[in-house]
Amino acid sequence: MSLLEVQDLTTAFMTGRGEVNAVEDVSFSLNEGEILGIVGESGSGKSVTALSIMGLLPSPPARIAAGQVRFAGQTLTGLSERQMQPIRGPGIGMIFQEPMTSLNPVFSIGDQIMETIRAHERLPQAQLRARAVAMLDKVGIPAAARRLDDYPHQMSGGQRQRVMIAMALACRPRLLIADEPTTALDVTIQAQILDLLMDLRDEFGMAIIIITHNMGVIAETADRVLVMYAGRVIEEAPAARIFDHPRHPYTRGLLECVPSLTEDRARLVAIPGTLPEPARRPAGCRFAPRCAHAEPSCTQAVPALESLEPSHTAACFRARELSR
């Protein structure tokens, strides 16, 4: 049985123009120790997917409108805030895109790491401290014991992200969700943080969901890839296949402009047009207005994910004929 199973997840937001689905019919699963990459342009629903799994979306306006999330055999959707608490931390840890604002400015980093452990385990103060120092050491903060009493504003962005990782891993989670962990960092620091995550995966053996808009990051890390567009999964395959035989025109577009890790600014500009907002999505295939291969029939219905090969699915009416 897989560690995480997401089935037909649909997350809706109440907005001024009524309820819109930020994420629609998303399904995937993840095995123990596996690294799944979720890639897509900004606004495609990656963060909402991750936050839905963690139960961290503000409600209202957010609501899990359909589907379910199962983690280690337990159904998470529908759990109360209190019931989610023991899962967050020892079950699933999460790090975020914004290292500068994700740490509380008025508490020392040692305090913030130790309170995480204390929330889930009974340990004497000395052991809490030792564990916090060990975690900081593992994430590569030099002179860890002396940095314990430092405040976030005394650290650089890269160091803060290391602290976030130390905090998320302090309770040895079985799954780590990293939502654009390197996007806000300098390119040289980005590579260091990714290396660190890979090392820690080897050491702790946790599964990772790494979320990014950067195919370069996927190439460095993921075993398997989920491509999202306008709230839906449009392709899923092992990482090697995605790079060798992408089947969806959008995925190919993404690959044509792979920003290497060293020049992040190139981003995803090669696909003309922009991602539609949830309330303004076109009928039928949501990618149609930007797709070079679009035909009139593409706007008649939403293409479903179709299995093209074992463990390779794509949601495009013309996937088979185009990839010949």
Binding site: R82, R88, N104
Partner: protein, 314 residues
Amino acid sequence: MIRLATRSLLSAIPVLLIVSLISFGLMRLIPGDPAAAIAGISATPAQIAQLRQDLGLDEPLLFQLLQYYKGLFQGDFGRSLLLGKGVLAATAERLPVTIGLSLYAMIFTLIIGIGCGIIAALRQNSWVDQAAMMFAMIGISVPNFFLGLLMIILFAVKLGWLPSGGYIPFTENPWGWLQSTAMPAFSLALLQAGLLARITRSSMLEVLRQDYIRTARAKGLPGRVVIFKHALSNALIPIVTVVGIIVSLLLSGAVVTESLFSLPGMGLLLTQAVLNRDYPMVQGGLLLVTGFLVAVNIAVDMLYAVLDPRVRYD
């Protein structure tokens, strides 16, 4: 931290200087003669002139001012013309009443204001939020002397739960003090509590949106730790600034409240001093009250640094 303290102390000097100048000047600008006031209606002009000379009021203004400052530097605040005792002694007698009342009101303000603000923010847009904000609005818009009157009528006259006036010093009977000062303190507090509730609510809402709150929840911390540790400690930072202002507002509001409830505090003392043109008492009393306020505000600045490490390490 030490630099911050020195800086605040230094900036207090011009404040005190200006306040002393203004109180000196204003008293002499308003018409009326302290000698006439002291001597009474039946005094002859000659008696009054003699009194003026005895009190040094016939000297040139500049000379009087210099004499005043000379006294201050020697720690001498002068003698009250009316009471026949030292300004310092009179203040020492009355200021504790006012400070006690303000402190009492401050405690009401903090409990009601911060409590309502937090509850309203946590239940944003619910009926609890709306009810709390309506009470805040009432507190802000109803003048506190009017509220005081209503309370006297209801609790003292109609229900007879609390004494309507009469002051029992804390040192004599703490419980009696708590009772006799409850109504004045509450009526004084309500305006400030309303303001504080609104500020706390918006500060809290702002903080609850921050990324570090999401982090705290993502770590699996219990709800009370997220709210009272992570959110409140940040929401309090802007509130502390307001608390410094609230102390000043409470002290000045205490003047009105004291006369309404006939509490023998600084308000009553200074009102009588002004009416009787008791120059030294007004000058010295104002200066001492200002000094107290300045000290409170310095303490608040320090508190700010304690709460916010970014200020502490600058």
